[in-house]
Symmetry: C2
Subunit: 467 residues, 2 copies
C-alpha cells in the first residue's frame, strides 16, 4: 500500500489503521475505514485478506451498508468468494440487494456453482429474476455490460415532477445525469439531461425539452460497437433496448472505459500471438500463461516447415553461391516488419471503425503506393550498404554486383508483397467473421518468410544462373 498517497489523500496511513486496531479503538477505526474511497478500500482489503483473513472480515463488517456493497463490487472474485463464505445469510442478503445488477452478474459468472446457488437463494425474487435474465446475454454483448438501475421519466411530467421523482427514486440509480423518457409500455421515447432540467423552468413539460433523436443500442449489439458510439458522440450513458424498442437497461461510460481498455489489450495480445486472458499480469499463473502462449508458438513453429523445405530445395544454389545465405535473415526480417506495419495499421483502423470492409480497394491502392516507395528506398540504401560495408569494408568479395542486385531486387518485390499480404489478410479475416487481430505480425511473418525466400531464389536463378 502506498503510504504517501494515503497520507496526502486521507491524512492517515495504513499503519495508523493497524495502530487503532491494536489499541482496539474501533469507533475511530470504523470512521476512518468508511472515509476511504471504495476503490482504495477494496485494494486495502484485498491485501489485508492475504495476511489476516479474520481482520479483513471484521473491517468489511465495519463498513456502512452502502459502502459495503460498493467496496464489495471492486474486490477480486476470490476475495468476494471468501467473504460470501464467511458472512451469514442476513448479511449476504444486504450485500446482494445493494449491488448493482451488472456487478452481481459479473461476480456470479466467475463464482463456483455452490456459491452461486447460495447467493441466488438470498436474493429477493425481483433481483433473482433480473440476474437470471442478465446472465443470458452473450459475452461481449451490450446486454452483458448494461445495468438495470436507471430512472425513466414520462413525457407528461413537468420539470418539477421530474425532480420529485429523482429525489424519491434516484438513490439506487447508478447515474442520474441522463434520464430516459418512456411510455406506459416502456418504449423509449427520448432522453433529457439533468442540465436540461436545471436550465428550464419548473412548469416546463418533459415532452418539450426531451431530445427524441436518441442514440441507443440493442441488447445483442457488440460491446466494441457500443464503445465506438460512446467515443463518437461523447456520451455519458446509452439506452439499451430490446427488439421491440423497450428500454431494458443502460450502459454507463465507466463500464465503457473498461471495455475499451480490455478490447485494446485483447487486440494487442492477439497481435503478439497470445491467447487473451483478461487478467492483470501477476494474477495469471505460470501454467495459465504458458497455456495462453504455447498454441500459436507451436502452430507457427510447425508451419516453418515450409521455409525449411524451400531452403532444402535450393541447397545446391546456396552451395554454389555461399554469399546468398548471409542475407536470408535481413530479407525475412525486413519483409516481416513491412507486413506487420500494414497489418497492424489496418487491424487498428478496423477496430476503431476508420476502415470498413467496403474500403478494401482504397486500402490496397494506398498500401501499394506506400510499399512502392518503402521498397524503393530500402533497396537503394541496401544496395549501397552491401557494396560499401559488406563487400569493401569487410572484404567479402563473394558478393558480386549481381549478388547485390539479386538481394535488392528481392527486397523491393518482397516489401510490396509483404504490404499487400499485410493489408488484405486482416480485411479478409474480418469479412469471414474472424477477429482480424490474429492476422498480425507472427502470422504474416510466417507467410511472408516463405514468399520472400521463393522470390529470392527465383531472382538467383534468373540473374546468377544457379539453382
Amino acid at each position: 500500500m502506498n503510504n504517501e498517497y494515503f497520507m496526502e489523500t486521507y491524512g492517515f496511513t495504513p499503519d495508523d489503521l493497524d495502530k487503532f486496531f491494536e489499541e482496539k479503538k474501533y469507533r475511530q477505526l470504523r470512521q476512518m475505514l468508511n472515509d476511504l474511497n471504495d476503490v482504495d478500500m477494496a485494494e486495502y482489503l484485498e491485501q489485508l485478506e492475504n495476511d489476516d483473513h479474520e481482520r479483513a472480515l471484521l473491517y468489511f463488517r465495519m463498513l456502512s451498508k452502502d459502502n459495503a456493497a460498493d467496496v464489495f463490487s471492486h474486490l477480486p472474485v476470490d476475495t468476494q468468494e471468501s467473504i460470501i463464505n464467511d458472512v451469514n445469510d442476513r448479511e449476504l442478503r444486504v450485500i446482494i440487494d445493494e449491488l448493482y445488477v451488472d456487478d452481481a452478474v459479473d461476480m456470479l459468472e466467475e463464482l463456483p456453482a455452490t456459491v452461486v446457488r447460495r447467493v441466488l437463494a438470498n436474493a429477493t425474487h425481483e433481483t433473482r429474476s433480473l440476474i437470471n435474465q442478465f446472465l443470458k446475454y452473450p459475452e461481449d454483448s451490450a446486454g452483458s455490460i448494461m445495468t438495470a438501475e436507471y430512472l425513466a421519466l414520462k413525457k407528461e411530467m413537468t420539470v418539477f415532477n421530474a425532480f420529485d421523482y429523482i429525489r424519491a427514486h434516484g438513490q439506487d440509480s447508478e447515474q442520474i445525469y441522463v434520464l430516459f423518457v418512456t411510455d406506459a409500455q416502456r418504449h423509449l421515447e427520448g432522453i433529457v439531461t439533468i442540465k436540461d432540467l436545471l436550465m428550464n423552468s419548473y412548469e416546463t413539460r418533459i415532452a418539450e425539452i426531451m431530445d427524441d433523436n436518441v442514440i441507443k443500442c440493442v441488447t445483442t449489439d457488440d460491446q466494441e460497437e457500443v464503445a465506438n458510439q460512446f467515443t463518437r458522440y461523447d456520451l455519458l450513458s446509452m439506452a439499451v433496448v430490446d427488439q421491440e424498442n423497450r428500454l431494458v437497461g443502460i450502459i454507463t461510460v465507466d463500464d465503457v472505459v473498461d471495455v475499451m481498455e480490455d478490447e485494446a489489450t485483447e487486440d494487442i495480445e492477439k497481435m503478439a500471438a497470445i491467447v487473451p486472458t483478461e487478467k492483470p499480469y501477476f494474477q495469471v499463473g505460470i501454467f495459465e500463461t504458458w497455456k495462453s502462449r504455447i498454441p500459436w508458438l507451436m502452430l507457427l513453429m510447425v508451419s516453418a516447415t515450409f521455409t525449411g523445405i524451400i531452403i532444402t530445395n535450393f541447397e545446391t544454389a546456396l552451395a554454389a553461391c555461399v554469399a546468398l545465405t548471409g542475407f536470408i535473415p535481413m530479407l525475412m526480417d525486413t519483409s516481416g516488419n513491412c507486413g506487420s506495419q500494414s497489418s497492424v495499421t489496418i487491424i487498428r483502423a478496423l477496430s476503431l471503425g476508420d476502415v470498413k470492409l467496403a474500403d478494401v480497394a482504397r486500402v490496397i491502392w494506398k498500401e501499394v503506393r506506400v510499399a512502392f516507395f518503402c521498397g524503393l528506398s530500402l533497396a537503394i540504401v541496401n544496395f549501397a550498404k552491401i557494396w560499401i560495408v559488406d563487400r569493401s569494408l569487410f572484404g567479402n568479395f563473394g558478393i558480386t554486383f549481381y549478388v547485390d542486385l539479386v538481394v535488392c531486387l528481392t527486397l523491393f518485390v518482397t516489401v510490396i508483397c509483404a504490404k499487400l499480404v499485410g493489408c488484405t489478410l486482416p480485411i479478409i479475416a474480418d469479412s469471414l467473421g474472424f477477429d482480424p487481430a490474429v492476422m498480425a505480425s507472427p502470422f504474416i511473418t510466417t507467410i511472408v518468410d516463405a514468399v520472400s525466400l521463393l522470390i529470392y531464389f527465383s531472382f538467383a536463378r534468373m540473374l546468377l544462373g544457379i539453382g
Copy 2:
C-alpha cells in the same frame, strides 16, 4: 452518408435535405439541420464541403449560435480553416466566444499562423489570455486536455444557493454533474455531485455534503496517468490544480476516452515499428505514411548486418552440414515470437499500471519459469516433428540424430533468452525514461536473431565438431 441511419434516427435522409435546398424551402431546411446531432452534422458538413463549398457555408450559417460552435468543434481542422476564412469578423467572434477553450486550443495548434492571428484578434481579451495560457501546457500533459469551463461552489452555500448558482452559470459549463468547491483564493477544497445536491434538503450547507478526499491532478501530470486514474476510480471528471492547489480547470471523461484510444493506438503503432501519426488511416497521405514507416525499417534493415556477419563467419560450418541452413528461419521466427510475446505483455502491463519498475525481479522470475516450460514443450515437439516429418517423410537423411539435437537444444535455450530479453528491455527503457513500446517485436526480433544464430552455431561446433 448513411441514409438508413439518418432515416431511422431523424426521419429524413440527406437526399431530402438536397430536395428542400433545391426547392428553396429554407425554413424547413434550417429546422432539419438544427435537429441533427452535432457529430452527425459535422460529418455531413465535411462531406458537403468537398462537393459544394458555398452550400456548406450556407448550411453552417443556418445553425443556431449554440449549435454552430458545437458543430464547429467536431469539424476536421481543414474544414474549420475554410469556414474561418469565409465568415466575417462578427460571425467569427461568435464562434470563438462559444467554443470551449480546450477545443479552441486544439484547433489553434494546427492552424497556420495567419489564421491563428485572425482568430486571436477576434477573441475577447479574457478568452485570448486563457487560450494563450492553455497553449503553454506541454503536449500530452493534463493541462493540454483540460477545459476552463467549470462551476466552482463555495463551502458556505446551501443546496438552494448552489442550484441558483448552477441555473445562472451552468449554461456555458462543459459539464455540471460534478461541481468543485473552492475557497476565495481558488484553492480546491472538495467536490460535490449533482446527485448529492438532489438527495439533500435545500437548507443543507455544501460543507456538510462535500467530499474533501478529492482525486485530482496537477497541470503537468502525464495524460496517460490521468486516464489510469479515471479508469481506477470510475470518474466522470477530475479537477486540475496548479502547484499551489488552485483549481485551474477540469478534465471530462469524454476527453479521457479519446486519450485512452490515442494512447492505445500509439502503443500499437510503436510496437509495429511505426512512428505514430495521430490521424485516422485515410487522412494520412502516401508520403506521410512512408515517413512514419521508413525510419524503423531502415534502422532494422541495417542492423541485420550483424546476422549477416555471423552467418558469413560460419559459412564453412553450413557448407559442412547443409541441413543446418534449413532450420534458420524456424529458429529465428520462433525465438522472435517468444520474445515479442513477453515484451508486448510487459509493455501493456506497464502502460496499464499492472507492472511497476520495482517489480522487475518478480517479472523475470515469472518469465523464466514460463520460458522454461514453453522452451521444453517446443523442443520436444520439434524434435519429434523433425525426425518424423523432415527426415522420414521427406527423406532428408542429412538430418542426423545430432543435427536434430543441435536444433532442439538451440530452440530450448533461445526461447529462454528471447523471453528474458523480451521482458527486461521494456522495463529498462521505462526506467531510462523512454517509451517501453518501442522495445516491442521488431526491435526484440533483431536482437534475438543474432542471439539465436550464435547459440545455434555454438551447439553445432560442440556436438557436430564443425565450424
